[in-house]
């Protein structure tokens, strides 16, 4: 089974891209789709209705969605295999930009809109720098020069990334992406690992302690002036 992890900020065009991929590949391989989101998601219903494929969604609720994604991924692989899928597409929520949901196998795609601002590639950290492929959407909305400037910015963040530009609603210029997916290797469940470093997730704020000021807390702690408290800090 092949695996595709799709990340990117809200409204970047992730689902529009997924639709193009499904439309193109569904005749030759069996595709199942999992959406991981926090509060509300409709992609599973939409895709099931449009393409009659097996879909599922998972709400992370109080948990960070990337954290939740890691927790449920093994179950998701079993679910996909149980549905005899050739390709599992996982669309992440893409919210806090600290982490990236990509794994050491399969393909990781970051979807970025060309109107998201010139500094977005730098601000998005691991979501861009650990992706295998960056797909730039909404290219019909900006000038060619501006598209080239954005692409240059992404290359400076991640020189090795494969860059593709598209109008995802029409699915222009995506042949290379379809080839990359079709030629990607099957995953091996036993050796599947997160690509990036997860954040430290056990601090007193995370577990609900409400007192104000770093003295009342331990775990991930940083003072206002930027100095690291005596306990532990692993930012930057």
């Amino acid at each position: 089974m092949k695996l595709l992890m799709i990340a990117g900020p809200p409204s970047a065009g992730k689902t529009a891209l997924v639709k193009q991929i499904i439309k193109k590949l569904m005749d030759s391989i069996k595709i199942v789709f999992l959406k991981i989101d926090v509060v509300k998601a409709y992609e599973d219903i939409e895709l099931k209705k449009e393409f009659k494929i097996v879909t599922k969604k998972f709400y992370s609720g109080d948990l960070c969605p990337d954290h939740a994604g890691v927790m449920v991924m093994a179950d998701a692989l079993e679910w996909a295999e149980g549905n005899s899928a050739d390709l599992l597409i996982v669309e992440s929520a893409g919210l806090c930009l600290r982490c990236a949901p990509y794994l050491n196998q399969g393909l990781g795609i970051v979807v970025l809109s060309s109107i998201s601002g010139i500094h977005a590639p730098e601000k998005m950290g691991a979501m861009v720098s650990l992706a295998d492929i960056a797909v730039i959407t909404k290219i019909d909305l900006v000038s060619q020069a501006e598209r080239e400037v954005l692409i240059q910015k992404i290359r400076e963040v991640h020189p090795g990334v494969i860059l593709l530009e598209t109008n995802a609603l029409q699915g222009t210029s995506l042949h290379r992406l379809y080839d990359l997916i079709s030629n990607s290797k099957d995953i091996d469940k036993e050796t599947l690992m997160l690509k990036g470093n997860p954040p430290l997730g056990t601090c007193t704020i995370c577990v609900g302690k409400k007192e104000i000021g770093w003295k009342h807390h331990f775990g991930v702690i940083q003072k206002l002036d930027g100095h690291v408290a005596e306990y532990l800090f692993r930012g930057e």
Partner: protein, 259 residues
């Protein structure tokens, strides 16, 4: 080097195959694309810009020098031999004109940063509102953005193929633009509603319902008509600038000598 571009037929809006075998555009050639709005003019040049391989909504294919271009040429901006000026007159990149051009020059593999100043200087020949190196591109006016993008395409894009989508809009000095890019040895393609621009090109591609309806070559009488139109257009420009400056229009401003 690009000697020619070949466009292979695609489908019109109803999914019917276009009625031409191939269209070939050669270096040094100027072409205009005309037709009503929604007839597929912008889609036609977008296909060229993307070097479409049956993977755009029109399903056209575009060849460079008679061959399918490499993926690398299609996807790496620094190798792309095509610069397109779209109708977009809004920039979203929060950068100064200087920073924007510097990054674009890097993207195009240009080491000489003197080109940034030259580009801004050229842009100022196309617009009456001065652009400075410190101007933020997000707040430039439509005419300033268009001027900067055209200057950028000529000097930084420096592409052998230039595509211009309705440059007559957004209040720039279009004759100045035409003068500079004409006879440059490039393939220059104008999408236009402007009769002056349409008649200054040797070849016209007529669009209808998303497909190429016909390809026309400029006749001798059209060459003369173009000269007359240029004269008229100059007068209109003078009157426009006078009106903008708060002057009144006198009778001698309206006199035109036809060829």
């Amino acid at each position: 080097m690009v000697r020619d571009i070949t466009i292979m037929p695609g489908l019109d809006k109803a999914g019917v195959r276009e009625n031409f075998s191939v269209i070939t555009l050669c270096a040094g050639e100027t072409v205009s694309i005309v037709g009503p709005t929604g007839s597929g003019k912008t889609a036609f040049i977008t296909d060229i810009e993307l070097l479409a391989q049956g993977d755009t909504s029109t399903r056209r294919r575009v060849l460079l020098n008679g061959e399918v271009p490499d993926d690398e040429v299609r996807n790496n901006p620094s190798l792309k031999p095509i610069a397109m000026i779209t109708q977009k007159t809004k920039c979203f990149a929060d950068l100064t004109a200087e920073e924007f051009l510097q990054i674009h020059a890097r993207a195009r593999g240009i080491k000489n940063f003197g080109i940034v100043g030259d580009t801004i200087e050229l842009a100022n020949k196309f617009t009456g509102e001065k652009i400075t190196a410190e101007s933020r591109v997000t707040i430039l006016s439509g005419g300033q953005t268009r001027s900067l993008m055209i200057a950028d395409a000529i000097l930084i894009g420096a592409a052998p193929v230039i595509l211009l989508d309705e440059i007559e809009n957004a209040g720039i000095f279009k004759q100045e633009v035409l003068r500079i890019i004409h006879d440059s040895g490039k393939i220059v393609i104008f999408v236009t509603h402007d009769p002056v621009i349409a008649l200054l090109t040797k070849k016209r591609i007529i669009m209808e319902h998303g497909s190429v309806k016909m390809v026309l070559y400029r006749s001798e009488s059209e060459v003369r008509a173009a000269q007359n139109l240029l004269e008229l257009d100059n007068r209109v420009s003078v009157i426009r600038e006078n009106l903008r400056a708060g002057k009144t229009i006198t009778k001698d401003l309206l006199a035109v000598n036809f060829y």
